[in-house]
Amino acid sequence: MPEIIDTSSIINSYVPVAIFLIVGVVMPPITMLIVKLLSPRSKSKQKFTTYESGSDPTGDARIQFNVEYYIYAIAFVLFDVEILFLYPWATVYRGHGITSIATTAILAFIVIMVIGFIYEWKKGALQWSTK
Amino acid sequence: MLPVLSMLILIPLIFAVITFFTKTKEQARTTALTGSVISLVLALYMYMNFDSSIASLQFVEISKWVPSLGITYSVGVDGVSMPLILLNAIVIPFLIIYSWNEEKSYPNRFFGLILAMQGAVIGVFAALDFFLFYVFWELTLIPLYFMVSQWGGPNKEFAAIKFFIYTHVASLVMLLGIFALYFTAWSQTGSPTFNIQELLTQFQSFEAPLVKDAIFIALLFGFIVKIPTFPFHSWLPDAYTESPIAGNVLFILLKIGGYGLFRIMLPILPFTGTPNLMISIMALLGTASIIYGAFVALAQRDFKRMIAFASVSHMGFVVLGSAGLVSLSVSGAMFQQFSHGLILSVMFMSVGVIQTNAGTRIINQLGGLSKKMPKLALIMVVVFMASLGLPGLTGFVAEFLVLTSSYVNLPGYVLAVMIGIVITAAYHLWAMQRSMFGLYNEKLGDVKDLTNYQSLSMAVISLLVIYFGLNPNPVLDMMITNSEHIVSLLSVAGV
């Protein structure tokens, strides 16, 4: 039997979220506005340089970064969506009379997930290279 | 009883495969000759046991193949196909003997293709199932394509492709016709069949005249491109000119277009929506081919090209004879196919010899070859005379039958053809005169005569030309039997 979803109540439960979101968005600018009113101002050329241990900054900071981060990112994205499937499963695992089949299914799922994990591990994808 | 006909189809094909795997030229030609001689023996055996007095099919073999589509493996012969099978079986061994000592690259493939061709062509003649018919029909393309594209003249690639695509398209159009025939019959009877006889019978009961005409035209197109007739002949001069001699002979033996006319077109012709129109179309095509071929042949300087157009001209008689729709004219057309096969084979062989021995085949550059090549000259005189229709030779019998009997129904066309006959004589005689007789052209140097192998094969076929010219009955009898049967259908339809 399909569950009847009351869209209205879902939307209403997010009204406070919207209020908080607006407050969150306007609060930092207001704070900074107050700061602008209260704080002193002085012009100095050196003040606006980027901090680099006191010496003059060289080059641009937006450089190519280590490719390791990408591998971790990919691994993360994959695992994160894998565990995504567990959330709905977990809520209905107990108390809906499907525990045994749910167990079988999820064990198969976990086995595959673990195999993927072992594969990554053995392939050295999780090895932080200090090169 | 032995499945003689299946063996006759399979043995060349099997020997073709064996030949492909031989290593040396000696092995290749021996294997090929063995295969072709075995098929000759089989063909002669069949001929001996063939009853020429009945029009029905003989040596029939039928077995299931794809029942869900009504496809069967069925073969058989009657008076229409028997002479053509015989022709193939006779000429191929001599073609192999003729090529005995020729220097070819890949001799194994060369001889293998000849045999494959033989198998495929006999298959077409023997097939009683449209599917099988079409399979063999298409199969004939492959050996010829490779023959031309591999051992042909300077322009071989182009010629091969042109030939291939042109005739392939034509046969696909024919396939459309076959499909239409098949499905219309299927929807009428409720069960699928590809059997030629049954489909042709079914055709009579089709209702829509337009469908009938469309089917007829589609099939006709497939056949006349293969024959070929003017104006669908343009693949032929290129292919014939570029092809090696063996390829030419194979082309000549490829009588499947004309065969299709007798086997398929004529039985359904009376039942088309507009039979008279169809007859006119065929007669017109035939006449045009005869005249056009003759005129263009007259203008050729290349010996081989001239013969190519002579061939177009000759095949015009086949179409005209079929359109004549009198028992004797149809038999004449059939006989023309047979005689054409013999004559033109030798003519091409002769040209081949001239080409290799004299180094050129431009008629103007030759002259007085008979002094150096007496054997060739003798053979050439025989076949040229046969080709232009000298009484006592096969060509005469065929053309005479066609012209006299067609006159009954198509007087106008026959009169027009008379012009063609004159021109035909003219270019034959001119070519003979220029090349063989008169002063010897010293630029040619010392020219050798035929080798023994060549003279053997050419002489035997030439003798057959003379023999059948004097006594055509051994093959003409069965043709007449069948053509009478075909023509008897006309009275049924009331045409």
């Binding site: 919207a18 606006f48 691994a75 695992y93 976990i110 999780l126 | -």
Partner: protein, 353 residues
Amino acid sequence: MVMDIIAGSYDLLLEYLTNPWIRGYLGLSLIGFIFVSAMAAVWLERKISADVQFRIGPCRVGPIGIFQLIADAIKLFTKEDIVPRKADSIMFRSAPIFLMVSVFLMLVAIPIGAIVINGVAYPLVVTDMDISILYVEAVSSISIIGVFMVAYSSNNKYALLGAFRNFARMVGYEIPFGISIIAVAITTGSLNIIEIVENQTIWNVILQPIGFFVFFVALMGDLGRLPFDQTEAEQEVVAGWITEYSGMRFGLGFFAEYIHMVLGSFLVVLLFLGGWNLPGLGLLTSIPVIGFIMPTLVFLGKSAIVLAFIILLRWAVPRFRIDQVVDLGWKRIIPLSIVNLIWAIALGLFLGA
């Protein structure tokens, strides 16, 4: 009599409170509360740290330096706001919004206690959604965008390095964080924080000790607290991603971090330590006034203990190297979390359908 009036007025209040707008506006007061909590947390940290190091810590402003943070705030407000020349101005200025929005949005769904009336617990939460824990997990990740924006817009090498470390750490610890939440959801059968609290007849910390450990470590990793504060390790990357921020702009980032920490400790309490419930508290809460206040106090007390523990951990464990952090996350904590997941499944089978 009195109880009836209280109960009646409370019913009226509840009716008002079902209106989402009213709930939302009233809930804004939580922002004040959470700022105060964050200040308290900062004060607590200073005090505890000082104690650990045999110092006194803040003591001048107010009794035992309790107003130190207010003084600090005033200081931050009056400091000059500097935007470096090479920075991407718009991004630099707007990044705090993301940090703030992240914690504010978390705040919406996290209960800070409950009021028990007539034996029925009314949780103090702004809005009640079916999947609040998932929601909290989701919005808490927004802060990483803010962090990255800060670092990238600063155009400072230390900042970028810090942000990348932050990122590398976060990806390793989000997964066990999620898996341990799932394990909790298995035993409690819900993704709603309030239901999770209510369904904890036995605290999850007892049912799933490994899960608790994993969750706690992953939370520490997410928060970037020592021993996982490579992001801001002074000795290595100056102040990490926040290097170029100064004055109140720094203050906002700083507060966001502390609010995050406070909310994190709330989550630990809610998911594993029984929330506002305490064994044996049931009797007490049936008394009206105590029921009004007691659960919230219990909750805040538990949270304070967790908070204190987090602070103490700072002085007990040395900072890891970044590769150690990542290795720990991927190769120890994640396998452990999967073990816990299987344990939770077994538990679920044992506890029955």
